[in-house]
Amino acid sequence: MPRRTQAAREAWLLGLLFFSLLAAAGCGRSTSGFDPASDAEPPESLTALGIFVGDGRSQQPAPGVIPYDINTPLFSDYATKYRFVKLPAGGKAQYNADRALDFPVGTIIAKTFAYPHDMRDPTQGERLMETRILLHRADGWVGLPYVWNDEQTEARLEVVGAVKPVKWIHTDGNERAIDYLIPNANQCKGCHKAERDTMLPIGPKARHMNRDLVYHDRDQPYTENQLTHWTRIGALEGAPADPAAAPRMAVWNDPSSGSLNDRARAWLEINCAHCHNPGGNARNSGLNLMASTERPFEFGVFKPPVAAGRGSGGLRYDIVPGKPDESVLVFRIGSDHPEVMMPEIGRRLVHQEGLALIREWVASLEAPAATSGAQ
């Protein structure tokens, strides 16, 4: 949820001013006229998509754009994320219990990645890195990376992605710096082709979205379940009236939201299962990390790694119950080497807290009875 700090508010006002100056000078690109449902070339500037108020530096959604959040997010090098959906006029998403919500053609989904200057103190402002866009066009979803400039005045389409150095004060008070990688348009497909070479949104599934959110579209902020909110404002059709009847994914770091198993499986699903499912990019490995996978062999228990190269780490099985140090899964989540690390794109750092969760979960597992072959 965008939290407007003083600095961000000022920046937003400045942005508005700058934007109006540009428009007044007649040198601004048209902000209207791009129809996401058409096959027109996507605009060079993010502003033209009309998701944000002004130039978008405040991450304040334009009227009618719905902010959303998910229970357990993908780890992206500790970046903060702001998520939005802009439906076409009169368009509604259709509820689906298992898959992503069915969004109408013309939908835009936006996810902005940002680094707070000081993770302990959000009032110090933040730096926007990129806004990833999913456009639902007549012939399917398209992924487009928009890269924010250093002045934070605009984000421009860069199909080849970018590398941007960034530093911040981490939650432990230490300064951290990385060369942040903005994926290229093909890498968008790498994660979003989750079902047999069809691009799909990953986050906006009912089980990820079934949670409360604080909304700011009235005079006073208010809290509402997201499925309920979407249904109420006419953005969603077919959801159960009571969100308790819809599936709900655990929050990986909130023990009140689910058991250790629930939280670990939620973390694995959002971080790994976009590839590691029977229709995903890593289907050649035979490893299925959807939280719904029930057969222990399929989610890695005593499953030998496939095509792992040095990614095997010299270990024989993806998961050895009770033994995180003997499990390839733990080894690869804990690596930042290009050939070893999983996921293989979209991060450069190890998610230490997620790694700790997965270690604890593997340590808690017991060997299943049905395992054939030599013991």
Binding site: K189, G286, A307, G309, G311, G313, G373
Partner: protein, 430 residues
Amino acid sequence: MRRLATSLLAVLAVAGFVGCMQEKGAATASRENVIVIQPGENAQKEAQEALIKAKEGDVIEFAEGDFAFTQTLSLEDVNGVSIRGKGQDKTRLNFKDQQPGAGAEGILVKADNFTISDLTVQDTKGDGVKVQGGKGITFRNVKVEWTRGPHPDNGAYGVYPVLCEDILIEGCHITDCSDAGVYVGQSKNAIVRRNRAEKNVAGIEIENTIGADVYENIATNNAGGLLIFSLPGLEQKIGKQCRAFKNQVYANNHENFAKPGNIVATVPPGTGVIIMANDDVELFDNDIYDNATANVSISSYYVTQNKFDDPKYDPYPEGISVHNNRIKGGGDKPGGAFGELVAPLLQAKAPELKEFPDIVYDGIVDEAKLKDGKAPEELKIILVDNGEVTFANLDLGRLLKGEEPEVSTDLAAFAGEPVRLPAVKIAGVE
């Protein structure tokens, strides 16, 4: 004169800086659109942009010279694109400074009718060229190498089509892979010919693949020369219908430098051909020699001693014909588990074998499929007309159960008419 030289220099500099030039269809019958990428600082961006914006039928051509890339080059969804260089050793794409977080392959392709040819891919962190889920894939005169030589941290595969259909791999030269040089996995219809694989853990590996013709290749100085495998837990379950003929598989005695955990790490150095858990394999007319462990071995998946839980997987090799090969030498220095466990067993059980035999068979059969104690015709192992070869049936099933194996050197038990498998046919490939 000096002025002319300066302007020429300027033009050249601009050309070099711009780097990416388009030669719109030369006035020949060919109407291909060629996008040329020059070496230099902008090559990464230009090449990736060209691959993202490519249209069907485009050729992305890398000029002669050395290119340094820091990220995987990827092509997705655009069919009919070719990537080519100016010759295997003239155009070199080097990935030694590849950054984490952007993939580990050199080139990654998910598209149909793709061709890559006439260039070298060097020092990738992961696989050299990976193509996933494409139909009509050609690798021609591609070299993949790691300039430091064989090393456990080298990438796994050199050329790596997986879940593909109609694959042609020819004239490639693959070295130093920590898994397999030429690898075809979970695919259908592959022709692998006239390639050279050396100093890899596995030279050529055909895995869980249906329909493969492997011929006129040279596999030497790998830990294992030619592997025809089926592994459990994969999407395409059973590899079958593989013909391997007229290959030179010799002196594959390199140490095995694979990381443990990978199936190839279990391959004993000194292995010529291994057929494991694959069905319907015809191995004929090959020269297989001087492989220090065994020239040919046929086994079930049980020899790996890996656990598995995959009800649709069949761990037994069935319908295997090994005939009319020229097999000699080797067997003098059995390595890996064969050296440690099997060699002493052989010495005790079959002292008449002075060396490790040319053909070894683990003897593990699916007892549920036997009729009157014998394998039905279509599941038989046929070993005939391979000259004066030595042989052992290790009866490892008993050994793995902790019982006394009945080792046999009787080749006559494997006599019969070899099965002749049909040739793989790919439209447009002679």
